[in-house]
């Protein structure tokens, strides 16, 4: 049966479906912008971590495991001065921040975030002091950064001591740190 509403909507849709030509110069602008960015590699471990994160999981914790999980407590500590240079090149006005995670059972941990393009190879954390304590120092310019910890190459942890942020584009939880112009964090 002929429906005038459907016919009208169909005409509008057909009209709007006509091909649109965007200025091909846009390609050049995009390529110029990304040439200055690091290669979005390091995807293998990170991609696996994301796939793992986005699947549903059922976790069973033993009492000991529960204690270990409870011990996985992280803090972000501002260091006004530091003696060693971290892996990423510091930018102008950046200050050093130390990220700390307590994870007694981990064998390796990477700090990933906006500041290293979520590249799991760029900021490995090191054991410091106790066997359970992992640290990494990163220079951060004023701004807002999302970050997370990648444990043993496959387990993705938000920082339990920092605000959790839901990424508007990707929907997965991470933590967020805001560095003020004075160098303080929140």
């Amino acid at each position: 049966m002929f429906d005038p509403v459907d016919d009208l909507i169909e005409r509008i849709a057909r009209h709007l479906q006509r091909p649109v030509q965007i200025d091909p110069a846009l390609d050049g602008r995009v390529m110029r912008e990304i040439t200055a960015l690091p290669t979005p590699g390091g995807a293998t471990a990170l991609g696996r971590a994301w796939r793992w994160l986005r699947r549903r999981h059922q976790l069973t914790l033993t009492p000991l495991g529960g204690l270990a999980a409870a011990a996985a407590l992280a803090v972000v500590v501002f260091l006004s001065r530091m003696d060693r240079t971290p892996s990423p090149a510091p930018r102008a006005e950046s200050r050093a921040f130390q990220f700390v995670l307590v994870a007694p059972r981990a064998t390796r941990i990477s700090l990933v975030g906006d500041f290293n393009d979520w590249d799991a190879t760029r900021t490995p954390m090191r054991r410091a002091g106790s066997e359970a304590l992992w640290t990494a120092v990163v220079p951060l310019a004023p701004g807002r950064y999302h970050y997370a910890f990648l444990v043993d190459g496959s387990r993705w942890l938000a920082d339990p001591s920092a605000p959790v942020a839901r990424d508007e584009d990707y929907g997965a939880p991470s933590s967020v740190v805001t560095v003020g112009a004075g160098g303080g964090d929140s």
Partner: protein, 185 residues
Amino acid sequence: MGIHSVGTSDAALVRRVRTGDTGAYADLVARYRDRLGRYALHMLGNREDAEEVLQDAFVRAYRSLARCDDPERFGAWLYGILVNRCRTGGARAARRARRFVHDPAALETAPLAGPDGRAEWDDTVRWALARLPTESREAFLLKHVEELEYEDMARLTGAGISALKMRVKRAREQLQAMLKEAERV
């Protein structure tokens, strides 16, 4: 998802970019430029805003390519980024419009013509589309122009399927009313 690629697969291009072949990203940009540009243009109603948002979406996608966990569905993933950027860009454009348009009556001055004249019809459709609430416009375009399934729309927008169906229904009703009004005058 109604987003497909031809020739070298998206996944192959994504893999090349991830291994340092930045030039492969140009192929992806060229592949999706016009298709995504159409959505941005209809959403924002302004070519300059659309190109700005589109460029931003491509750059964001590149920076986050390590987080594209299914390279075969790069197009759908990129589309999700664009939909979000259009929301932000749309809000910015609306603020700008509020700043510079001081005559509310001017907004009511629609191009009044029937569908026989192509240019007039184009103006009328654009005018009606621009008057839809952002959420309704987004839902209408994704359903009727991009021809996505409701499940895919829900994944892209984060809205529930029932809510999306309602938005599409309202958009259809509002468009019908506006077009009828335009044809009467």
